[in-house]
Subunit: 367 residues, 2 copies
């Protein structure tokens, strides 16, 4: 193996695959990046056996070959090199020679034979979706997935295709986020992706208009984004029938400025945090919503102007769940919908019906 | 106590005193900020008993008074308030009422009687120094102070006045940093300031031309910077006679570009780090300096163009000590001076003699 490549190009390529590198693993080779030169291309691959990322870039090839180099060391060396052309040569005994201007490195590497191959994905079912739409869908749902590994299926997000609509859903037993997006796909389909894989895709995606190609098999999903491929295992199991959870009706509907509501809940939660469950209370009446909280540190009361349709209500929530959602809604105004103070509250943007966020209330004690 | 003050002004004032607040303390009141309104001024004070910071700001006073409020909570609340005027009222039972637009807080506070008073400093010995000069002196020396609490005197920096020159010196047994600055002070003087106090002063100082007023007593130093006062205890004990350590002569003198040398040592240390002592070797000969290092990960060799006066030399160092100093030297070029590979190396800017940095070499093994 011998090739030439600009330092900046290498830095970019390494940064893309590096996130799939195992941070803790009993298999040392998984701390490495498999680099391979074929024809005029350099292919970098990293995997933690859950997800795998492959990135291809054009280089100036003198000799083909492959090796596995420690990801952290390789990344740090390339990053620190001068902004110039880098020459990389594989020498005997898996030693990687790296030269750039007056710097010369010789790095001891792993045998590429020992690196696990990524699963081969056969084109069974696939569709395309715009990068910016898919990025938004991930950003607006995946944060609601559970962190609790004992219910593995909830640590992922459902990607469900129904009548040319992709529904992305994540929930953790306390709140649920649903984002819909129009796509062009003839057949219905349903898979559960690990949150980690979706977060990595979000990182790789640009805000560009280009599409991302998604292929699904029984056990894997393959995402192709330009020169980058990401393969993830699917989560096994049945996702919760989320549609039954979302209330169809309400008794109180509040229209409120997103930013004012977010700021007030954030301030109220400064005192709630020290107490139990980040508890904040909403008192909704007429043209205002009073948000209050108290703990041994003191008490706080916030007033937010609202437009109320329907009944007055008093209801309490874990402020964290509201803050999470209000932070990712881009609309200037949101609707809040409530039925009773024991049934879920709904939060959605005023201008579209693509997004629904549901939160379970906290029961208020008698006093 | 009752006063009005802009949110931004409060945020700024809190951020200045907050760094003196005890992070870990058995005395809960030291987690607080003492706030006091006298005439048209709000005075904020925080202390961890080692250093104390006091900041005064003009406010719109309705009633004088004082209280001690939890620093973290107060800072978070004020920071999150809308960008508007804040009304603060002390109610009964040390409850602090904070109102800003539609937000109202009631915070349970400490009795101001229990807050320790800052030591009163009588003007005994004092001088003035430009803020930007003092900031540079701190930045270029204090990092070299020891972290090792068993030799307390080395965890501080010497501030020595001799013949209208302030010498600031810090050392840790492996390296020494000395920065000289011209000042106007008639009498010689010598004190040792804790590194922490100097770092806090550095943070408070602006790059402005204004001067800082320094007063020294037997046990304390008082720094007055505009509306801010910082009082620090002095470290007791005798500082090492540092002048004897600095070699007056050399056999090899190297002139080299600061940035090239820093970059090369940083790259070389990527491999050194995993080995012993961040060991990097300098081979200085003719018009080039070869920097090399090796460990079980591989090896690296860097070449840097130099201008050598005197003898060739091979000498090894802990790369960290060189990197620390090269990062804070602003000159484009530096001199390195060596005598033997067992005696200290010297690093200094080419354009002035205000700064001297000394590093002990690492003995090279026979092979």
């Amino acid at each position: 193996m011998r090739f030439l490549c600009e330092k900046k190009t290498l830095v970019h390529s390494i940064s893309i695959v590096q996130k799939a590198v195992s941070s803790k693993t009993t298999l040392p080779i998984l701390k490495g990046i498999h680099i391979e030169v074929i024809k005029d291309y350099l292919k970098l691959v990293a995997t933690d056996l859950e997800i795998g990322i492959e990135h291809t870039v054009e280089v100036n090839t003198y000799e083909e070959g492959s090796v596995v180099v420690d990801a952290r060391l390789f990344s740090e060396i390339i990053r620190k090199l001068p902004d110039a052309e880098v020459e990389i040569i594989l020498k005997e005994n898996n030693q990687l020679y790296i030269k750039c201007e007056n710097s010369e490195f010789n790095i001891i590497c792993y045998d590429p034979q020992d690196f696990p191959e990524l699963p081969s994905i056969e084109e069974e079912y696939s569709y395309e979706i715009h990068q910016d739409l898919f990025k938004n869908m991930i950003r607006q749902t995946v944060f609601a997935a559970s962190q609790d590994e004992t219910r593995l299926v909830l640590t992922g997000a459902l990607m469900e295709i129904e009548e040319n609509t992709l529904n992305m859903v994540a929930l953790d037993g306390y709140r649920l986020a649903l984002r819909k997006g129009k796509i062009d796909a003839s057949i219905d389909n349903k898979v559960i992706l690990p949150a980690k894989a979706l977060n990595e895709i979000n990182r790789i995606l640009t805000d560009e208009e280009e599409t991302i190609h998604i292929t699904l098999t029984e056990n894997h999903a393959l995402f192709i984004i330009g020169n980058t491929k990401l393969i993830s295992r699917l989560l096994e199991g049945e996702f919760i029938s989320y549609k039954q959870i979302i209330p169809k009706e309400y008794k109180s509907k509040v229209r409120v400025k997103t930013k004012s509501l977010l700021d007030s809940i954030e301030r109220a939660s400064l005192l709630a945090r020290e107490g139990k469950n980040n508890l904040v209370k909403f008192m909704i009446d007429d043209d205002k919503m009073t948000i209050s909280s108290n703990s041994e540190l003191g008490k706080v009361q916030e007033e937010v102007a609202i437009y109320l349709e329907g009944e007055s209500i008093e209801i309490a929530f874990n402020s964290k769940y509201f803050i999470d959602a209000l932070k990712i809604i881009e609309d200037e105004e949101v609707y809040l919908e409530f039925t009773t103070n024991l049934s879920p509250g709904i939060l959605k943007p005023v201008t579209n019906d693509y997004y629904i966020y549901l939160v379970l209330p906290v029961r208020l004690s008698a006093n």
